[in-house]
Amino acid sequence: MELFFAQLLTGLANAATLFLVASGLSLIFGVTRIVNFAHGSFYMLGAFIGYSLMQVLPGMFGFWLSVLLAGLVVGVIGVVVEILVLRPVYKAPELFQLVATFGVILVIQDLALLIWGADDVLGPRAPGLKGIVRIMGEPVPKYDLALIAITPFFLFGLWYLISKTRIGILVRAATQDREMVGALGVNQAWLFTGVFFLGATLAGLGGAIQLPKGGADLLMDFNILAAIFVVVVIGGMGSLPGAYVAAALISVLNVFGVTFLPQSTLVLMFVVMAVVLMIKPYGLFGREEVAGEHGQVGEPERPIKPAGVKVRLLVAAGLLLLALLPLFGSDFSQVLTSDVIIFCLFAASLHFILGLGGLVSFGHAAFFGGGAYVAALLVSHVDAPMEIAFLLAPIGAGFAAFIIGWLCMRLTGVYFAMLTLAFAQLIWSLVYQWGEFTGGDDGLVDIWPSTWLNGTTPYYYFTLVFGIGGILLLRHAAHSPFGYALRASRDSSRQAEATGINTKRIQWAAFTFAGSLAGLSGALFVFSKGSVFPTELEIARSFDALIVIFLGGVKTLSGAVVGGASLEYAKDFLTRFEYWRLTLGLIIIFVVIVAPEGISGTLRKVAERFGIIRQREGES
């Protein structure tokens, strides 16, 4: 009983940081609809800045002043990011801004490395709160008690701000219907900036306030990201009490998980999230999303059409060039191009459900890695010939997508995205944990193609045929009745249903189809690398695909391929330099600002402008 109580306190103390950071994310999302990936970076900056301030400001007063100042400085950084990077792209398609925030992550990572160096720093202890208190005989750190005491003040302060002040009224109104708020004469731009300031400040405070319990390091931005998204979703998007309850729930469950099921540490919060979303699809305190937008943001999307003659000729010429690559290119150019094709197929499969189906999946890596693992497991456990394993990979991945799709289909929007993320994490942790069968994080190695394919050039052609074949198949499906039905379900599910389309079933089929093609790219991947590791199932892998789709242009059919190829070649080139993350981040931000319709969409416009392709025909 004593221990139980002490553990409860530990959990509540841990919830403090999680709540602060997650509430900021929740506020930003609620008002601006931006999925802010850079929120973890704000948290990291808060920790580093807080640490630096604590070196110069002494004593108890200095400590708490440092925490506050760190929050405010990060808030100002948030404002700078909002004004410079996000403001120019509010008119872009929904979720496009997440690409910009991804660029911000890269820039902040390298800047933090430049400023604070590579070594981890241990946070200073809070003056006056170093020791422990014995509560019913159990030691409880004083600082834990301080955190438990402080958090409700933040919660109350935020609640007061949101519920009782004029600013709060505007924020709530914008959360409900931001276009209406704009129509009523509220300056949205400054409202968004203000909310961004508040959100970033909270993240910075969270980073600084956890210093006495840990420190600051360069991996903490990504390490907290999944957890805060989980908290926001469990609590309900935009709900502050929800964020607090969810943070406490996750933290307390985690403490007991550590004691009674030590192996559960990887997966517990995702299980909780999946369970909550199955029972309450909009989180504990969330309300059903009223269609946030009236119609689509930005220009209306053009109906897709089969490519015109000029574009077809261009594509044919490109394919011919690829087919002839082994004649003039080096071995390495073939390997690099194979990698790019594999990645493009993976991105294109996600684009199919995201662009055409309007289903944002944050867990698409489950099917890429899933396909790779199906093939690898068959080869290493039953000695399956490469050809059989290769064929079964897309089937296995498609089956996984079939199941996961069925479980996720009742949700929409960001909740759907988060549930796919949860399932992807479940698969990841299963592979990670089940070492005897999957090799754990030591992976499966020696998965090489059959002898007839076992050279750079033969495998290059193999990749070319299946990779390009897969991309063309996706494209063909987009022009088929299935593709039309899918787009109808996206644009207006009620009208689509009225015409006799079973929208959920169409979307489910599309999800499965996309999953199996992701599995195909995974199979191509595993035989080209000879090994597979759980990294291929990670969130980062899913986000890679997500980002190139927006970078390439979500509203064009070729967006994923163009974006994927551009980013992969750029990365290959840039990683040769010391500060490649900074450069890549800046390039991404630059592209996002000058080409808010993505590379492909912007090229199309330019081409039309100069009459290279005819208006309307030039769908690419």
């Binding site: 221990l3 002490a6 553990q7 530990t10 103390a13 841990n14 990572q109 490395l113 590579a118 981890d120 720093v121 241990l122 202890r125 170093k130 422990i132 030691p139 750190p141 834990d144 006495p212 319990k213 840990g214 420190g215 390091d217 360069l218 991996l219 390490n223 957890a227 933290s251 985690n254 403490v255 550590v258 004691t259 030590p262 192996q263 540490t265 990887l266 080096s330 071995d331 390495f332 390997v335 690099l336 990698d339 944990q433 070492g435 754990g440 994080d441 030591d442 992976g443 190695v445 020696d446 991947f525 690398k529 000879g530 090994s531 590791f533 990294t535 291929e536 990683t575 040769r576 490649w580």
Partner: protein, 402 residues
């Protein structure tokens, strides 16, 4: 070659001011070095410094086979697939003669499998996974650093000397942590069969909930604790554990805890009285160790990390291997590495014929506080050769050599 002689030559060269060794770059022997320079900058940079120091000395002494030795460094972002791609590029386009590098075990395993498939030589410098030379071992892969098994066995030997009966383990929840716990258990139970493991904690890597872990261990009331966490996880565990009195009156064994990479960030909160493996460079007085430490401090104005030592020894091993092979032909180099003896700062090491593991050992000592920072005291250097399983067992562990 004597380190001192190398040193003297290096200093002479520096004094004259000859700096452009790579002037005739076409005629160098190039080594492909793949690492997580960004993702794990705190570890990869000292390692690279170690390599650079060794290269300076080797090339000042005339290089290898009459040519200067050169490393081509590439960042793999910590992704195995990327590492394999880069390995291919280095070998085909940059015309490197062999591959080395990586810290993360899974990336090392990916390169190892690729090297065997393409018949390239790969010297795994830092990855610790036992499977790299045993279960997944192959003809083309050698490993320099003392493996998880060896270091865990060294700590188990120390643990067996005490009267502690019940043990708690805490290790990050991934392959390295699991290997380290399994090896420690096996070795300790072999020495002291009546020992009992009362709890095993598995925090997620770099996401430790230290307060909860400390409570869970305390609840099991063990006599001793075996710690495998490192980096930020270690810092949090030490802080929460110390605050809550977890380590009082208990024996604590820490794998890698004494390495400067992990001990230095703890500053004056470094734990005292833990038995750890590490690298007490500040305390080394014998000729070869001290020569390395002094040269490193002279060049970089800071003490070496364990990574620096490994980087230095990597370049030394490669130079010795190519010299012994007499050519940069892969088969000749593979043959040369089998049984290759190298004179290093920690003494002579040998790459074993039977499993391609080097006999590089580790320093085992007790942590203490000195001038406001953690150090190792009462340390000894344990030779890796004494902590490897018998040849028959190795044969069983390593399908590749059957």
């Amino acid at each position: 070659m004597k380190i001192q002689k190398l040193m003297a030559t290096a200093l002479t060269v520096a004094a004259i001011g000859v700096t452009s060794i790579s002037a005739n770059a076409a005629d160098t022997i190039k080594i492909g070095e793949i690492n997580h320079y960004k993702r794990m900058a705190a570890f990869a940079n000292p390692y690279k410094n170690g390599i650079e120091l060794a290269l300076e000395q080797i090339n000042a002494a005339g290089g290898v086979l009459g040519k200067p030795l050169e490393f081509v460094y590439r960042d793999d972002q910590g992704k195995p697939g990327e590492a394999v791609k880069i390995a291919g590029e280095l070998m085909t386009r940059e015309s490197t003669v062999m591959l080395t590098g990586t810290i993360l075990s899974h990336v090392g395993l990916a390169i190892s499998s690729y090297a065997a498939e393409k018949k390239y030589l790969y010297l795994a410098s830092e990855p610790l996974a036992d499977s790299l030379v045993w279960a997944k071992g192959n003809d083309y892969t050698f490993r320099l650093r003392a493996s998880t098994y060896m270091q865990a066995a060294m700590l188990a030997e120390e643990a067996a000397k005490t009267d502690a009966k019940t043990y708690a383990t805490i290790a990050p929840n991934y392959a390295y942590g699991k290997d380290a716990v399994a090896a420690f258990k096996t070795a300790l139970l072999a020495l002291k069969p009546d020992v009992e493991f009362v709890t095993e904690q598995w925090p997620a890597l770099f996401k430790i909930d230290a307060g909860a872990e400390a409570q869970a261990i305390e609840r099991a009331k063990p006599d001793a604790i075996y710690n495998v966490t490192f980096g930020g996880d270690l810092a949090k565990l030490v802080r929460e554990g110390t605050t809550r009195g977890l380590f009082e009156g208990r024996h604590v064994y820490g794998l890698l805890t004494g390495e400067p990479e992990y001990l230095d960030p703890l500053k004056d909160e470094a734990p005292e009285g833990w038995v750890v493996t590490g690298y007490p460079w500040y305390d080394l007085s014998d000729e070869s160790n001290k020569a390395f430490v002094d040269a490193y401090k002279a060049k970089y104005d800071e003490g070496p990390k364990i990574g620096s030592l490994v980087g230095y020894m990597t370049a030394q091993s490669i130079a010795a291997g190519i010299t012994k092979a007499g050519s940069t032909d892969t088969d000749a180099m593979v043959a040369a590495f089998k049984g290759l003896e190298v004179d290093t700062p920690v003494g002579q090491i040998m790459f074993r014929k039977q499993d391609h593991q080097s006999t590089m050992g580790a320093f085992v000592g007790t942590t203490a506080l000195k001038d406001g920072k953690g150090v190792m005291v009462d340390w000894v250097y344990k030779n890796g050769a004494d902590y490897l399983p018998s040849d028959e067992e190795v044969m069983k562990l390593r399908p590749a050599s059957q």
